[in-house]
Amino acid sequence: MKKQQLLLSVAALAIVYLFGGATYAKADNDFIVYSPYIAQGRSEIEMYGFGYRDGRSELNGKLGYNISVAYAVTSWWKPELYIGQFNRDNKGVTRQSGYELENTFAITNRGEYWADLGFLASYIYNKQRNVPNRVEFGPLFEKWSGHINQRLNLIWEKEVGGGAGKQFTFRSAYSVSYKINFNKFAISPGIEAYYRPNDNAYQIGPVLYGEIRSDTGRELEYSIGIIAGINHGAPDQTLLFRLEYEFF
């Protein structure tokens, strides 16, 4: 029965990838692999972003970054407010693209099933004229196996409001890492992969995660990586960075 269910999951994923949506959409500041885990009462301040390097002038030099604050209201709900989303185009002009209210929900208890499940639901307010607002949603999976951590996000996006398109767009992100733990800090070398069919971009590359901890639960997390485009439409290289401060 387990093998059948695994095959069913793979088939379901294949269906999603084949029919996940066909609208051509602008890449946003969404180079992140979300975790479904929530610690009640913990606050977070986060900044993450990306930068492109490519031989094509329309891609080279583009970058974007987000700044957000979050508070886990319950053990199963964490709202996060993106107080700024910024994008710089290939001409070097940086604009604030909008704001976002993101909600993470923990659906299952740790270890209750083969993987831990959460859900993401967000509303993105776009400041740019004639660019519709958006909602995005989808399941978040995470699994620990000894020192190895894996995450998988399946995210659907839909424009809403005036001028909104009718199509859902789909993207996916996956990460795997190996935690090497020390007394007050840890490092986790890993890999991130991004599947963005609506941007015609498929990317994968190494990422280094790290955390510095205190006895009282304050934690500084960071990651830095370079992912390579594995198809012609993707940027040759994308630099990823993330910094997050967590505290009670």
């Binding site: 009462g41 740790r110 639960g217």
Partner: protein, 120 residues
Amino acid sequence: MRIRLLATFFILLSALLGLNNPAFAADAPPAILIIHNGQFEPEKLILPSRVKMKLTIRNQDAIPLEFESYDLSREVVIPAHNEVSIYIGPLDPGIYKYFNDLNHAMTGSIEVREAAAKGN
């Protein structure tokens, strides 16, 4: 299209949730691990083998704790004066170590025994 996507999602979800279907110690009360004055109580928890168990970790201290165990493949933050329940197992008989990732001096272990010898 929308219906197909939603159907696919629920197929995936039900398959995922059904992937692990071991024997549950469903009628047994959860095992309790308490954090008090910077110590795990009991320092060695004894649990039965080959069943999935609910483990409730209750933090009675004023600072948070991060329960971490590579033997058990679990990592969870327990806020101060709060509790979190996780599931572990099914486990073969043996010793499984865990620690507080915020203070590595705090350590403990779970001894898994054949079901007939379950204690604690």
